[in-house]
Every structure is written in structure tokens, then in C-alpha cells.
Symmetry: C2
Subunit: 284 residues, 2 copies
């Protein structure tokens, strides 16, 4: 078929620490009518990878777990239910609560993201390529919020054997114009597409995407950055939204105060003024 | 089939001002092997809607056109090729260059977004429902950049006859926990999925998505906000990233300077200080 099909095999059991995910997923694929073909892409909900890796933490330790997963606080907001922290984690992913997950987990526990999502994807990819003798790609997906838009979409937080960026730079459109869009984030589009199928049925954490063989890499070793989900992460220093608006404003305000105070060098009652200004800032 | 399939019918000609898009798309669907069924969703590249609506502007007027489409500047950055402006447009969409498009357009022209993308989607939806006698949904898609992540993904900028947000609030997961994720932005996930098929072949600006009939609305009139792409727009006042980091910092810096200068200039006049501070707070 010239298009794309996505199915979600059944038969994948509830996953627990130490389970051999590659074998369990492979068995479900082998038993499915779709089977597994050259050029197929598997999208695996990262939560079951976390479960297999035993990334459970007591729910009571949630805030400490988020702090431990955090490299950099991007923004936070207090609301009636507590504090939402948007943070950058060790993998460069900017996520609410650092990706720490408290849905669909056994009572009293929460789940951290896989230890190294690209490496987890690579292990799954290698094991399934070896078992079935086909070139396939693996994406680990998770659900992310976005600035400016309501709702969440699934995105690729781990990948192996597949190009996650489809680079159009330097190519011409049908009118001979140089294409302005630099690269399609196909890894994220595939993760989101798979969510449409996985999300509508309970207990189907894996989707099989067929029809995008041009994105599957013959050799996962020679992929470079765009062959891992890390390639979808924009470094903070290149990002116009690396810090929340309130956080950036507060930092600017404080620097503006300090700059003016230093310029004017009025030594008389500065400590008192500084205290008054901080209280104004924190009341915002 | 239990999953999802996406195909891109051929036979849609190059579109020009005044073309009857519903008839041209309908003819292509009628001639395709897939046909059109109850519950199908059509994803239409917004660019061909702009072309049919004659939204061409001379390329020389690009910067003025961006300014005219802009409601609010969110962030901008100067680079060797010029200035990139991320702006909010009349439809609440936050986009680079206000969505003004200079790829795949006739020489010497650029394209504005459709005048009212939700209304354009609705006209297509109504005409195709009437012609084929089936309940179908229509999404107009465009390509958006995202903070924090490399590459672009397609998103829904117009919609009719379909729920663009799949609301999970208040539902329980398989362990009986209340689901934390509020709503899946299925409209954007569908637009991105369609891009995977449209993007790999030139001259296929429409994709047919089959298998998501649960999202298609029997009556497009009773859809509320989540039945239009407007429902995917988060109002700026609720957004932690409503302003670029540099822009928010600069505003804070300037306010911080002014506040300190005001305090030091008039050390005894308390009422004036209070007034100055409240203007700082409300200017954010």
C-alpha cells in the first residue's frame, strides 16, 4: 500500500521489573496477523520500559524524585493542586514533573522515565532485528504538554534504527523555491500517530507502523544524532523559550534593580529598599 | 481493521484562486480505490486552501504582510538571514512569520493563511458530507515549530466535524488511578500523522485517515470549542511561555531599573512609590 497503517497487537501482558520486553513484544508480533516486515517501526510506550527496568519509586517520594531527575528548572506554577514544575531532565527533555508518572502504575508507586531511553530503544531494536531478521525501527514514546496549545501529544523520547528528523534543507519545492522548513520531526509525528491507535484501546502499549520504510536505517550504528531521540532535543542555548516568561521577567527585574542601584550608588538606606523590592517581587 | 490507515489520493490538480476545492477533493476521493466512508477524516494542507482563497501577496511585501497578520509579538531573533518573528495571529496561533508561507507558491508571491481556517474547514466538511452522504471530519494542517524540540510537526489550524481534543479528565486508568493527562490533542496528532504520508510524495496535499470514527461528530454544529481548531489554542494568559525568554527578561530588566530609580529619586513620597509599583506589576 502506498500509505501508512498503524495497528496495536494484543497479547502484551502487564509488565513488571525484570521482564524481557523484547521477547514479550516479539511474541505478540509473531502471533499477530500483521507479523513483522522489513521497514516496520515499533512505537513502545515508555511506561512499560520503565516498568521492565524497575523504575518504580514510592509515591510519597514524588517531589524528591522530580528534583532528582531535574537538571534545570524551566518554569513553575502554583495551583490549587500543588506546584507544577516544568523542568529539563538528564536527557535534555523539557517535561512537566520531569516525566515522573503517576498514572497506570501499581498502587503506591510512581514511575521514573527509563534510565536511558535511546539505549533502551537500541536494545529492543537489536533484539527484534536479530530475532526476525528484518530492518526495523523502535521509538519509545511519552506524552508531552506544549506551550501555546491545549492538550498533550505523544513524542519520541527514545529511538533506534530510524531517522527521527527528515531533513529537507537544501531541497526545492515543486516551484523551484528552496524549502523554508528545515526538517520534519518525523519521530514525534510517528509517536503521535501511534498514540491515536494505542490511546483508544486499553492494554495496548505497542503500535506497529507500516509504510515508512524510507526512514528505517539499515545500520543503527551509522545514524548520527538524527538516529536517536536526542537528535530531537534543541539545546537550551538555542531556544527562545528556554525559561518561562514569569521566571525570565523576575530575573530581568532583579538584574535591572541591581544595575540601577549600582549606577546610582546611594549608600544611605539601600538594605531597606532592597528588602522592600524583594517583597514586591515575591508578591507577584 | 482495528487500527488506522492513512492514504493520500492522487488527482488533485495545482490549485488557483477561485477553485472549488470541495469539488476537486471530492472528485479525487470518488476516483480513489479507498473511496470515502462514514467516520473518515480528511487532512487538507492549509496551503491549498489559501491558494483557492486567493491569499497571495507579492513576496516584496512579506514583512508588511507578517506585521498585518500579527496580533502580538511573542519573540524575535536576528540571524544572518534576517529576523525571525514568532507571533500570535488573529486565530490565536503562535507561529513563525505569522504563518506567512513562501514555499511551494508561484514565483514572486507568498501566501497568507486562510482567512478563517475553522470556517474553511467547515465549508469543506459540509460540502463533502452533502455530496457523499457520510459523516466525515476535516482538518486543515500547517507546519509549526515548537519550543525545546528540533524540527517541525504538522498541527491542526482548522477543523470541522471532528473532536480535536480527546478529553480523559475524570477517567480512571487500569489501576484505578485518576488519569493525570487532561486531554490528548488528537487533532494535532492526526495532522502530524497525515504529514508522514503527504510529506513523502510531492503533489498530494490531502490525506484520508480511516479508523478514528469515534472522533467524528454526527453534527458539526454541536461541537463546542473542541470541535474547532480554536479549541487547541491555549489563551496567552494561561501560558507559562506567552513571551520569549529574552523579551520577558528585557521587560523585567527595564521595570526593575524604573522601580529602583523611582524609589531612590523620591525616598519620602510613599503613595507615589506604591503607584509606581502597581504599574510595574500590571505592565507584565
Amino acid at each position: 500500500m502506498s500509505g501508512l497503517s498503524i495497528t496495536a497487537p494484543d497479547g502484551i501482558p502487564e509488565i513488571g521489573p525484570g521482564d524481557d520486553l523484547a521477547t514479550l513484544i516479539g511474541d505478540a508480533l509473531a502471533a499477530s496477523v500483521e507479523g513483522i516486515h522489513d521497514g516496520d517501526i515499533l512505537v513502545v510506550t515508555s511506561k512499560i520500559v520503565s516498568k521492565a527496568e524497575g523504575r518504580h519509586v514510592a509515591a510519597a517520594d514524588r517531589e524528591a524524585a522530580i528534583t532528582a531527575e531535574t537538571v534545570r528548572l524551566v518554569a513553575s506554577r502554583t495551583h490549587p493542586g500543588g506546584i507544577t514544575r516544568i523542568v529539563e531532565n538528564r536527557h535534555g527533555l523539557v517535561m512537566a514533573a520531569a516525566g515522573v508518572d503517576n498514572s497506570n502504575t501499581p498502587d503506591g508507586t510512581i514511575l521514573l522515565l527509563p534510565q536511558d531511553p535511546d539505549a533502551s530503544a537500541r536494545r529492543l531494536c537489536d533484539a527484534l532485528r536479530q530475532r526476525f531478521g528484518v530492518a526495523l525501527g523502535v521509538i519509545l514514546s511519552d506524552t508531552l504538554g506544549r506551550p501555546w496549545r491545549e492538550g498533550q501529544t505523544d513524542a519520541a523520547i527514545g529511538a533506534a534504527g530510524i531517522r527521527v528528523l527528515d531533513d529537507y534543507r537544501g531541497t526545492l519545492d515543486t516551484h523551484g523555491n528552496l524549502l523554508a522548513v528545515s526538517a520534519a520531526a518525523v519521530g514525534d509525528e510517528i509517536a503521535g500517530a501511534a498514540d491515536l491507535v494505542k490511546g483508544k484501546a486499553a492494554g495496548r502499549p505497542v503500535a506497529l507502523v507500516r509504510g515508512l520504510g524510507h526512514l528505517v536505517l539499515p545500520d543503527p550504528d551509522n545514524a548520527g544524532q538524527s538516529g536517536t531521540a536526542r537528535g530531537l532535543v534543541r539545546p537550551a542555548e538555542n531556544d527562545m523559550f528556554r525559561l518561562g516568561s514569569d521566571e525570565a521577567y523576575a530575573l530581568g527585574f532583579s538584574d535591572g534593580q541591581a544595575a540601577t542601584a549600582a549606577l546610582q550608588r546611594v549608600p544611605t538606606d539601600l538594605p531597606e529598599k532592597a528588602a522592600s523590592m524583594s517583597s514586591v517581587r515575591s508578591s507577584k
